[in-house]
Amino acid sequence: MFSSVTFQTAVLVTALAGGLYMAWNIGANDVANSMSTAVGAKAITYKQAIIIASILTVLGAVLVGEHVTATVKGGIFDPTAFSRVELALGALSAMIAAALWVTIATWKSLPISTSHSIIGAMLGFGLVAGGPSMIGWGTLGRVVLSWVTSPIFGAILSFTIFSIIVKIIFNSKDPFETIKKTSPFFIGATFFIISLSLLYQTALAARLFGRYPTDFEAIALSLVIGSIIGLMGKPLLIRGVVRGDEHFEGVENVFRNLQIITSCFVAFSHGANDVANAIGPLMLAVENAFPADSSLPFYLGGNYLLLMGGVGIAIGISTWGYRVMKTVGFSVTKLTNSRGFSVDFGAATTILVASKLGMPISTSHTVVGAVIGVGLARGLEAIDLSVIRRIVISWIITVPIASITCVAIYLGMNLMV
């Protein structure tokens, strides 16, 4: 019914629009939500959050976003078992289905995940077009497991880091002097993890070294980078920080500066994980819209699309995210800088590790897990545990809804093509 050129154009335009919309939505909601901890704790202003998130999500997307994108593109089902048209239409249907569900959920303020939506939609396509035997159940099982384990891992990490802060700093005779002395450790730990994510089995590291660095080399180099930045960053961190009159005001002031670093970490890890939700199906759609023997235009190459996804997320933060940060930031004012630092560190580390493992997790749910972790360490005065029930409900409903919607869209598109 369509000529091949019309088909390519239709897929390209729809996929780019869908991908950009998903990226915008991720920026407007998920990234903004996570950056609210730093905004609420007054570590950064809305404007600074927008600038940090815009730059760092793009970097995270381009430098570390490939792993999760690979899972979304080709891990849920075996792409070789489908024709190119099927894959293009399937990816397009999945993207539209996920975008629809994300829009409805956002409109209704439901705590659903874009990752769960896109995986559910891809599963729907795989099932209707190829049947259960075409599904990569092993990968899917690992992805679903990561949805459960990532908030728990975030909670364990934030619990641990906050307990360390209490033990080393708050329990000391002079907490202000102790935080000044130990601050390089916290900066160093953050940069160690970021460096490791960039050096451990990445194309970037391969380009830098001329080969993939060994595990030992990646860890050792990351340790060196973390240590150097930790020691060099100390004067900047404590410059102008005063002890203050209130209880532990000086300690919290140092953590406020540390939170500037962790908010960069949060934005970077978001870019690394969330960009796949927007770009994975987009890549699959455009790659298969063109004949196998034709070469893709340069702007449809992997890195350009990841860059586009990162930019889309940044646009989402700048155009709508500040409203979310304002509202959420107000409700998290009880999150002091030491707590905010622990939440950010726990969540961002979990998200980055998941990204390296290629697991498309819910970044927002991981942040909630990290908040609960600090609460379990007796760090917060009142946590509404009913949020766990709402999150579990969102897990249960998102996958079937996105799957069924994708199936309906795919069958409808098949009738048109």
Binding site: N29, G375, I383
Partner: protein
Amino acid sequence: MGAKFRRASLEETFFKSPFDGLCKHAELTKLGIQELKKGIKLYVDGEFGKAEEHFKKVSKIEHEADRVKMNIWENLPSFIFMPMRREDFMKLLKETDALIDNAENVSVLLPMRNEEIPEPISDDFKQFADKIFEAAKAYDLIMDTFTEVLSTSFSKPSKEKTRKLHEQICQMEYEADNIESKISRWLFNYDEVPLTAVHLLKVVDRMDAIADHAENVADMLVSTLDKK
């Protein structure tokens, strides 16, 4: 696009802290005790009219504290996770409330008979009142320290401060009890004006309850420190 176009899992995680209400209640209790102290001083000096003005203020403050207590009571669902057990928090609130309740009882009872304190127990009464207000002052301090306990997630130094204040309150309460026994013994044998004896017995009993409840609050806070 509606103004609330957002997914809100993080925002939903935070619940309004019931400790803010507890601190407000403690602040009102402090104000109430201060007014009672001024009122009793004027009463002992024989300035009954001026004393009554302060006693009336205590009643107003107690009413406000009751409203704060009810507000906490009604807005603390069971699914809220706090750094202390919900039941312990409720008991703590009940005890702080009993403290201001007894302050109000004294402020109502005392001006029911405007007469000088009998000479033989006048000094003891003043000393007794001093001990009660010292215990109440230590209660203020222990509540302030509790906010430090919360802000540092039960750090060792803040726990130590709480324990020291607990010891102080226990000592004040013990000393107040001793003076109360002495005053009561005298009053039970005061046959000249039995109504004065009954009146003052009731007053010292309520005043002593202020120190008792301050001690109970301190006991509860200390027992909370190591519970997880």
